[in-house]
């Protein structure tokens, strides 16, 4: 399995997209810190960009990569190689490449400017977010047969989690604002990996006071070590669930 992952990783590095992505993240991070004197503010602006770009690039790149390596998968399937090993090595190679790009592009420059716990959280949650969207992309690609459809489904996932879902949450809060909603919104946040990542960082930056009563409630919940563990575990579940669904589907797929 490691051998296969090695070849997939080599293939990914051979097309220069991941290197370009790393460079882009690096440039954005550097410019954020040089524009904002305050490192908390810089991390906040950076966060807004990362929460859009990382999921988008992860999900689209993975989907395109999967369909482009269809030939490779076909070739491996005629050899005495376990289907599960092929699938997991594809997943781990793409994840390693994208996480590495994130760590080099964002992690390294941020650590140069700010060395607090918030930096650590920013790096971990960005990597988890990458894993979640890589897994979602595998789901989208295994469930569809052609590239255009696969990319379409992937884009839909991205729109849903970054835009549509927030609108839905706002609507719920607005419509039911006569009721105590903090527990409900907590549950709603857990259902969206992007929101989870955002809240981890926001609370670490100590600006939860801006979010009123709900913010205070979140602070009480997520600020505790239990809350942090809770949100990281939920992000991991968000990666594991689509991965296991797509693996199960891939094992039965006709190539």
């Amino acid at each position: 399995m490691i051998k296969i992952a090695k070849y997939v990783l080599l293939d990914i590095l051979r097309n220069r997209f991941v290197i370009l992505y790393t460079f882009f993240l690096f440039l954005v991070t550097l410019s954020m810190f040089s524009l904002e004197g305050n490192s908390d503010k810089a991390i906040l602006s950076l966060l807004n960009i990362i929460l859009m770009v990382v999921p988008l690039v992860s999900i689209i790149f993975t989907t395109i990569h999967f369909f482009n390596s269809y030939e490779f998968i076909e070739l491996l399937l005629s050899q005495p190689i376990n289907r599960k090993a092929i699938f997991l090595s594809e997943f781990s190679a793409v994840s390693i490449a994208l996480c590495l790009a994130y760590v080099i592009g964002v992690g390294v420059p941020v650590t140069l400017f700010s060395q607090g716990m918030d930096t650590v959280y920013l790096i971990i949650s960005g990597m988890l977010l990458t894993l979640v969207f890589v897994a979602l992309a595998f789901c989208a690609s295994v469930l569809t047969r052609d590239k255009a459809k696969g990319i379409g489904v992937s884009l839909l996932f991205w729109f849903y989690f970054t835009l549509i879902y927030d609108g839905f949450v706002l609507y719920v809060i607005y419509a039911f604002n006569d009721y105590p909603l903090d527990k409900v919104t907590l549950a709603l946040v857990s259902l969206n990996p992007v929101d989870l990542a955002r809240i981890i960082i926001l609370l670490k930056l100590d600006i939860s006071a801006l979010m009123g009563y709900t913010g205070a409630f979140y602070k009480q919940f997520f600020g505790s070590s239990m809350g942090i563990i809770y949100s990281f575990v939920f992000l991991l579940i968000w990666a594991a669930l689509p991965l296991s669904i797509s693996l199960r589907k891939f094992l039965k797929k006709d190539i």
């Binding site: 070849y7 293939d11 076909e74 399937l77 005629s78 050899q79 005495p80 376990n82 190539i255």
Partner: protein, 240 residues
């Protein structure tokens, strides 16, 4: 020995394989014949585990292949349309395959030289013509000295010289301990290369016996004519 019993496969509303049963025995070479879309490739891919049949059982040497993968050590497969990672060179492809199959010591590179692939090792896969890709596929199928060789249209798209090279290779490899399953539309090739014929039409197995018997039964000397007779007979049955 490979035995296929009562396998069925549907793609949506299309019945591709309708309860196919057949045995493939050691030392024999099978010609898999049938019109386009009759299910030949699906049958082959089922044996390889690339397509999972809806029902039925496929056994290799007495063991079911369902969910297994190590049995493919014994199979060499040449696909109809060989598709390979675009960014790799021919040399990288062969060394990767050898690396992935490092347990296999008996390596047969005769076809790589036979086709002259050793002289173009640094060419990238996406620059290759269809025929050269076919040569790569053929060389890969024979590379690990498999017991079972499944060749899906091995001669299609090859130049006459290469066709002779691959035919000669098939004939020298044929022996008591090997099984060949060859599909082709060029029946004169199959006449030389195979001892048994399976005729598939519309997902059903119409004929499955030795070619000698087929010729005797239809009173024809050439496989092409004998098959044409069977096809005509089959069409009549459908009309009746």
């Amino acid at each position: 020995m490979i035995s296929v019993s009562k396998i069925e496969k549907r793609f949506g509303a299309l019945d591709v394989l309708k309860s196919i049963s057949a045995n493939f025995e050691m030392g024999r070479s099978y010609a898999l014949i049938g019109p386009n879309g009759s299910g030949k490739t699906t049958l082959i891919k089922s044996i390889l585990g690339m397509v999972v049949p809806d029902s039925g059982r496929i056994e290799m040497d007495g063991e079911s292949i369902k969910g297994k993968w190590s049995y493919r050590q014994k199979i060499g497969y040449m696909p109809q349309i060989g598709r390979y990672p675009d960014n790799m060179t021919i040399g990288q492809l062969f060394s990767m395959m050898k690396d992935l199959r490092s347990d296999c010591k008996a390596i047969d590179e005769e076809l790589i030289e036979g086709f002259g692939l050793d002289k173009i090792m640094s060419k990238r896969m996406h620059t290759l013509s269809g025929g050269t890709r076919q040569k790569v596929s053929a060389a890969l199928a024979f590379l690990f000295n498999p017991k079972v060789l499944i060749l899906d249209e091995p001669t299609a798209g090859l130049d006459p010289l290469a066709v002779e090279v691959i035919k000669e290779k098939i004939l020298t490899e044929m022996g008591d301990s090997k099984i060949f399953i060859i599909t082709s539309h060029i029946l004169s090739d199959l006449d030389e290369l195979s001892s048994h014929a399976l005729y598939l039409d519309n997902g059903s197995l119409i004929y499955n016996d030795s070619i000698a018997l087929l010729k005797e039964e239809t009173g024809e000397i050439k496989l092409g004519k004998a098959i044409a007779t069977i096809m005509r007979r089959n069409q009549k049955n459908v009309i009746v």
